[in-house]
């Protein structure tokens, strides 16, 4: 086998592996999507049906039974609100740790990450009682605060890694021109890091959008986001897969479309590198 043939074979194998992984990841979403167009009986039929007469009945039921727009609005407010608040806190924090590290910076970073290692249910009772005492139960503000705290460690870590990649020389040049630390952050670091900040923000929005544990435990009728709406379609006594799939499809749709438009930033951010 020649070198060119070897390269071609390698490309084909890598491509095949990538497609296999992508299809495996996409299959549950595809199945959810087509199930949303089935009747309840078709949804549970064995063997599963790939070809069937589609119906929009499930979407109509979801629309009739749930206030979709209210849930969607709650998801938008809490996801974007929490992401903006988290970025406002995380950018200065990551900047200071990346460019002015102290003796304990690494320990602080590790400690921040360690908070993600505790299962959320471990702090459910104290968070619930605090929310009750401060009147934050079933409020969007309460969820924004929780989502912010939940995502801060990841956001700080991502931004820290991103800022660390910036060449020190650029900042030294700015300093030579008389820039203060504030100027360095606002006029040099931030413009160079727009891609990284955008992708971090996008990831945070996706994580907030999909969050279910706190949403289910801390909300009731007023602030419940789309994840809570989906959960309401599970039934202990009765068939529900088709309706649940329709609710899930409707809940996923906005964030999938949003992600589609922002995929360039997402990929750039996840593969990293500000000046690469």
């Amino acid at each position: 086998m020649t070198l060119t043939q070897q390269r071609k074979l390698k490309t084909i194998l890598v491509g095949l592996a990538a497609w296999t992984v992508a299809l495996l990841l996409f299959f549950p979403i595809f199945w959810m999507f087509i199930t949303s167009f089935k009747t309840e009986l078709q949804a549970i039929s064995v063997p599963p049906q790939l070809f069937f007469e589609p119906t929009l009945e499930n979407f109509s039921i979801v629309q009739e039974r749930s206030d979709y727009l209210k849930h969607a609005w709650n998801s938008v407010v809490t996801s974007f609100g929490a992401t903006i608040l988290a970025l406002v806190i995380a950018i200065p924090a990551a900047y200071s740790m990346a460019f002015f590290p102290g003796k304990r910076t690494k320990d602080i970073l590790l400690w921040m990450l360690s908070t993600k290692m505790l299962p959320a249910v471990g702090v459910l009772v104290p968070i619930y009682i605090l929310s009750r005492d401060y009147g934050l139960l079933d409020s969007k503000l309460g969820l924004v605060i929780i989502f912010t705290l939940m995502n801060l460690p990841i956001i700080v870590w991502m931004l820290f890694s991103y800022f660390k990649d910036l060449p020190k020389e650029i900042l030294e040049a700015a300093r030579m021109d008389g820039a203060t630390p504030w100027d360095e952050m606002v006029k040099v670091v931030l413009p160079l890091s727009v891609g990284g900040i955008a992708s971090t923000g996008l990831l945070s929005i996706v994580l907030c959008w999909n969050e279910a544990f706190w949403s289910l435990n801390l909300t009731a009728s007023e602030a419940a986001p789309l994840t809570a709406m989906i959960a309401s379609y599970s039934s202990p006594e009765g068939l529900f897969w088709a309706k649940l799939s329709a609710a899930s499809t409707l809940a996923c749709a906005p964030i999938v479309i949003f992600g589609w438009f922002c995929q360039k930033q997402l990929v750039q951010g996840l593969t990293f590198g500000a000046v690469k």
Binding site: L41, I44, R65, A220, E237, G238
Partner: protein, 435 residues
Amino acid sequence: MTTLRKTALTCAVSLAAVNTLADTQITIATVNNGHMIEMQKLTPEFEKLYPDIDVKWVTLEENVLRQNVTQDIANGSGLYDVMTIGMYEAPIWGERGWLEPVDTSGDYDVEDLLPSIRDGLSWDGTLYASPFYGESSMVMYRKDLANKAGISINDRDSWEHIRDAAAAMHDPDNGVYGICLRGKAGWGDNMALVSTIANSFGARWFDMDWQPQLTSDEWQQAVTFYVDLLDRYGPPGASGNSFNENLALFNEGKCGMWIDATIAASFVTDPKQSKVADQVGFAQSPYAVTEKGANWLWSWALGIPAGTQNAEAAQKFVRWATSKDYIKLVGETNGWGAVPTGTRQSTYDNPKFLDAAVFAEAELKALNSADATDSTLEPVPYVGVQFAAIPEFQAIGTTTGQMISGAVSGSLSVEKALQSANRSADRQMRQAGYY
């Protein structure tokens, strides 16, 4: 100018009127069951009767609902004004003073509630939650398959007869399994059924000193019988099946028999859901050494948390949703086959309902034969047929369910499963200070 002022004044008065029209808002937490969804749809009828009350609904998955309402009531958060709770919670929470007693005065007709259901939702003679619908368990079987196999299913058969019938109908090559039973772990899943089997074999969860009895001969015989029955004549993967999975199998025509909640009767006889709707027969749950506790007793009920700011409005809603008038409203709106059953004697006296529901007689018999206060051969210190109404039972029941589900899947022997479950139950009861 005068016209402008008048218009402004009219607008202001109209706005004020709109604001005061619904001055009390109540939030109701419920599960996504068919009857509950119908109740949500009919809420405008309640709001017509009480225009000053605005009703908000929160629908949750059963386990999430349990967790949320427990958190809400234990912490006094006041998120919910009406909660959908079960027969397990009602007496425990009533005893602790967490629930408002139900207002049964006037034309509510509390005597019309089925005695077994009413007693199960009461503590010390006080009703703490109003039954919205009630259920027991019974045998649902395929008449066509039974005829083909040349066997008969009688009104109440022994477990041996049911096993023989399952063997006769079992035809896995043609996709038919003799019997479908719950196998999925959970105190409300497999343990609901296994507890009734155990009761009928003469077993009990605890003795009079609250010592767990899971290693008794009766438990051993009951669980061995259940595991063997599912292993020989059950569908593959039975350890993962609960109500919905078995409902799907039965409706697809893959089960000769199915023993489960009476509420399933309306689903399996509905041609829109079931391929075998016209072939289903009903019988009482089987017995072994006793009929006591052979069929379970459950009710989804509406309770009002103590301390709610809107207790009066909540009482009005609960009385409306569990009244005879509500059942009539559902019957006239959606048909008499769709009314919530298992709560009132008057429903079973109604000829329109009896015409619409072929399962009515079997369901009422099952409900009336279940007694939460006398469900075991030997005396017990607890109330409940398929559960013991103590706070520790959820954990004990679920752990035991996991062990028995392991025995069904073949990863544990019955003996080891029961020994482990008993050790765990003993530890929990000791920690809780029962002995």
